[in-house]
Amino acid sequence: MTTWNNTWHHIRRSPYQSLTAILVIFINIFTISIFLIASLGFSKVISYYEAKPEITIFLKDGLDKDKIESIQRELATYSGVKEIRFISKEKALENYREQNKNKPILLEMVTASILPSSFEVTAASQETLGQISQSFSVKKDIVDEVIYPEDIIRPLLQVTDTIKKVGLAVIIFLTITSFLIVSTTVGQKIRLNKEEIKVSRLLGASRWYITSPFIMEGMFYGLVGALVAWLSAYGIAFYFRDQVNSFFDPIIFFNYKDILTLQTFALTLLASMSLGFFSANFGAKRQIKF
């Protein structure tokens, strides 16, 4: 209790320095949280497409029944093909209406004639899908477009990879900055209390007795910074979840049940308080020589 009283006394004695330390930890943890939420969302998008060994071949308009059947026969010749579904223009409209039933404005102008008919091919392996994609992409007279998941996954992987790299660099930079600011703040507080520390040493105060209030101060900055950052980052994500999720529909980009857990909360606090602990300890060791 006395340690905490001393810590609180130090914090109150120079509130602006304390606020700066809390703010810098807040920025750090907020950024980490946002990057984590984004990374998790993108990894869900990638998993969704990876788990879907399917290719969609959109056909040109005006193909007769025989031509469509010959395409279906050709598709069946590929080994590993599990299912071939023909989606007529009417069926495509039906699917479109089902997907957008809550958005009447999107339904108004759409008719079956503007939607292309297509084949949805499911295969046992991505390799088979790759062969089909390669073969049908060049048949420009009958094929309008081939949607192959790998074409989506590749740029997505690049985006996610870039996010992770940039995120890591930013996080390292912010962590170093937080470490230096907290250790400098604690160092300044120690200098302010030099007289008290000197007398305490003469009275037989142990190393722990003297440094513990300062280390607790660092941990307090970590705790408050992380608490506010966690609430802000996850609060923002929670607030915009519908907009974000509808953008990535049908993938649930932000599922708050996965993220807003006691574990993520505890881990965030633990990481931040550890940062506070180590930086304060470093600051104290630099200032107090035993």
């Binding site: 209790m1 003469l202 037989g204 142990s206 190393r207």
Partner: protein, 229 residues
């Protein structure tokens, strides 16, 4: 607490502050260490408190050599020793009560006992009405007694007093000496430094004389005093 210095040297660069000092102080003794400024009196107190290490020789406390011992042991020794500093060493941002409470806290004395202990030592040193005063609001004599109150609060086995009467008028000097005598009667070993010759002649205690880093016993002082007269 028993103190023993065995052939102790202390050099600061080329300057020898203590030259081959040996002496014993028995448990419950009241010893005065006398000598002019710069004679090495404070050095002896610092050596006992392990604020500094000797350049040679050994220091024993209760028969245990403490020279070069670990910081942890030095901390424990300081906790069981009361020190009255010449410059008081009271923290200016804390009240007298808080200054004493700090010493109690360092000694792991439960907060529930603080009030009682502080009241006792403040009453003993005549500072009961100065409990909430900051050091800047106290006179020289009060500061010195405040420093003594803090030293006594932990119930020390050894009390080191560095020139405690240096800044006091005769009346306050006598008050302080009376308190020290009273404490000594309870079995606390006291080592006090001073350069006040009048004070020494009025005290019937053992006297160690330091001069230029050399130690002599009281008889030599008396002889030298006779020579001068």
């Amino acid at each position: 607490m028993k103190i023993a210095f065995r052939n102790v040297f202390k050099n600061y660069g080329s300057f020898s502050a203590l030259k081959d000092i040996s002496f014993d102080i028995n448990e419950g003794e009241f010893v005065i260490l006398v000598g002019p400024s710069g004679a090495g009196k404070s050095t002896i107190l610092k050596l006992i408190l392990q604020q500094i290490n000797p350049s040679g020789g050994n220091i024993e406390l209760d028969g245990v050599v403490v020279t070069g011992s670990k910081t942890k042991n030095a901390d424990a020794l300081r906790r069981s020793t009361g020190v009255v500093f010449q410059d008081y060493q009271l923290i200016p941002t804390k009240t007298l009560y808080e200054n004493i409470a700090l010493a109690l806290d360092i000694n792991n004395i439960p907060a529930t006992e603080h009030d009682n202990r502080i009241d006792i030592v403040l009453s003993r040193t005549g500072l009961s009405n100065k409990k909430g005063a900051f050091p800047s609001q106290l006179s020289g004599g009060e500061l010195q007694r405040g420093s003594l109150a803090r030293a006594l609060s932990v119930g020390p086995r050894l009390l080191l007093a560095d020139e405690p009467t240096g800044n006091l008028d005769p009346e306050n000097t006598q008050k302080l000496i009376d308190i020290l005598k009273e404490i000594n009667k309870t079995g606390t070993t006291i080592l006090m430094t001073t350069h006040n010759m009048e004070l020494i002649s009025s005290l019937k205690t053992r006297i160690l004389v330091l001069n230029d880093g050399n130690l002599h016993e009281k008889e030599q002082v008396i002889k030298s005093k006779k020579k001068h007269s």
